[in-house]
Symmetry: C2
Subunit: 382 residues, 2 copies
């Protein structure tokens, strides 16, 4: 019964914090992340990180990206592919350079500094997706460029991390295998998404069982997530493309209607709350300058890099600033990379807490920045 | 990503097994439980029991009883209270007597035999609820009597188990505290259900957050579950009464619509699959007679006891046979009691596997029996 109480606390806290955030003119996501920091071990200690919270949070972000896929306008995604590439590439290069320079400045080894740069190159688009949805911008050209860039960013960073870990730890990484796996994954989901997915849902739709269609959709989403992970891509990329595949079926609307309560009614609040849980303020005083400088690096490196990528490929200044802001959030991806780096000895233990704070800060600043730049969109003006 | 694959396997297996079951003229629940036995460690070994599966399963049964509460006709529940009491009391006495007699016959000590009888006195109504819903009988007089009896059975068995454990292990059980807690719980949910619950949902309904109403409903359901557990009642009784409380609000229909995909789309399949997971066939050959005799005792003790209780309080023979059959399933409640008894040394380790098999058998036989007695109900004839 202990976990049932955790569910009550997480749902209550995240929804109330979200509502307060909205009343203060901010996206609800901001309040939810702050609620996690407050409830976590660093402050109140009402919620302790646990395997269950991690799993619920993981399912939450998988469903979030699945819903984003369902809402994605594939034509718009294709039309903005050039921008997406420019945003992703510039948004990887600038953080690596600034992260490396900052790391060396603060006395880290070259290896550590480069790895730190790589951690800062990872984007977590799920936060921005949710904020853009709230503001009504998810289905805009800007939203499409952002989603495309985030998918590419994930692929690029995973490859670079694999190369770096292989190079620095001396273990050989089979880069051909990794790249081959990624190519195989995208080829596979293209084929499966086009032919098997509609057939599968169609077969399930005739079942006389409870909730056949939403169950079929969840099976597809999670199978794609597992496949993505298996082939060396993030699980969220898998559910995102599962959403895109299902968006073309006749059940798209029904699936969205029924996955929404599953996502927002139970799992997604765990994702937002979970972001703040690993924070700790122990020894922060000693590294306050490191934290301040790296918070600035984290924000401006993506903002400038991605903003420039957008501006140079046809977006106007306001949209470019907004797209850059939307790529700042590092969230769960950077947290995973940081703990991988720590395990492999590529990030110094002494700076780990500070890096976590920087990552969480970048996630926290994204919702208000997006709101500031884009504002609430009048859906009818689209 | 490992658990994501488990979700895919559980959903796929339970829904396909459910569909096969329906095609063979059986309630889908039967196929789902069998799927769990097949996939579990005893046979295929594709799914291993884990904390996550247990939690998902627990949430599943909590939501199942919550939905049952939402659909319950309180007037009908009150009208059938006399029958419910008779069914529950007779359904506790007969299994204890037969279980005790059978245990002594097979050479158990008196203590072990009585505790075994107590395990057999626990009803798990969730399986029957789902079967009756599938057959269209949940909202009948028979369904109301069954639900009322199951709630009372839970209360009686918890009290008896507490008394027995205190008596046999020599630790003093504060019976007054337990009874007082149960009374306090029912008083509390009556007051909260009547006044706080509608107010709480009303407050949430005005929130501008995602899925406010279904989230409020889940918060209430799980808070009631935790409260029930805290005051010494089963969690499912808590969510059941949360459902009853919400059924009276204007949002009842919307809540049912949105909790249904959460329940059946992800958590409930884990509940059905999880029932079969603890089964093991090691050393079954040595105790085959114990298993056979106790399977018979498990079935006829509830069937006769509860059926008699129903018959003597105004139900006709067919309905009484059906109600008796619906109370046979022991499911998760008996499994929990058995493992408690094992831990306290009140059940012999040597017979534990056999007892698990008996409990699962009683759960497995209930769906086809209910289908046989009641058949599919024409909703319009009600």
């Amino acid at each position: 019964m202990h976990f049932v109480l955790t569910i009550v606390i997480v749902l209550l806290a995240s929804k109330i914090a979200g509502q307060i955030s909205i009343r203060l003119g901010q996206p609800s996501v901001l309040g939810k992340i702050i609620a996690g920091i407050l409830l976590g071990p660093a402050l109140l200690g009402w919620i302790q990180p646990s395997e269950l919270i991690t799993e619920f949070s993981e399912i939450g972000v998988l469903l979030l990206m699945f819903l984003a896929g369902l809402e994605t306008d594939v034509k718009s995604l294709n039309q903005n592919m050039k921008s997406a590439v420019a945003i992703a590439v510039a948004g990887v290069i600038v953080p690596i350079l600034l992260g490396w320079a900052g790391g060396v400045w603060f006395g880290l080894t070259t290896t550590e500094a480069i790895f730190l740069g790589l951690v800062l190159a990872a984007t977590s688009v799920s936060i921005s997706v949710q904020v853009l949805r709230e503001l009504g911008w998810l289905n805009s050209r800007e939203g499409a460029a952002l989603l495309g860039a985030a998918v590419l960013d994930d692929i690029i960073v995973i490859i670079l991390i694999a190369v770096a870990m292989g190079f620095f730890t001396g273990e050989s990484t089979n880069l051909g295998l990794l790249l081959g796996g990624q190519v195989a994954f995208f080829a596979l989901i293209f084929v499966l998404g086009r032919w098997l997915v509609p057939y599968f849902v169609h077969a399930f739709a005739r079942f006389k069982i409870t909730e056949p269609i939403v169950t079929a959709a969840i099976i597809i989403a999670f199978a794609f997530a597992w496949g993505a992970d298996f082939f060396g891509v993030s699980g969220i990329i898998g559910t995102y493309f599962a959403g895109i595949a299902l968006a073309r079926t006749e059940w798209a609307h029904q699936i969205e209607d029924k996955v929404s309560p599953i996502a927002y009614g139970i799992f997604v609040p765990f994702f937002f709350i979970n972001i703040g849980l690993p924070i700790s303020f122990d020894g922060v005083g000693d590294q306050i300058w490191f934290i301040v400088i790296f918070c600035i690096i984290a924000v401006i490196s993506k903002w400038i890099g991605c903003g420039l990528g957008a501006r140079l490929t046809g977006f106007n200044t306001k949209s470019s600033i907004g797209i850059g802001a939307g790529m700042i959030s590092r969230g769960e991806v950077a947290l995973i990379l940081a703990s991988m780096g720590l395990g492999a000895g590529l990030l110094p233990q002494s700076h780990y807490t500070s890096i976590i704070i920087v990552v969480i800060f970048s996630t926290l600043i994204t919702p208000p920045l997006l709101k500031m730049v884009f504002g609430k969109r009048d859906e009818h003006s689209a």
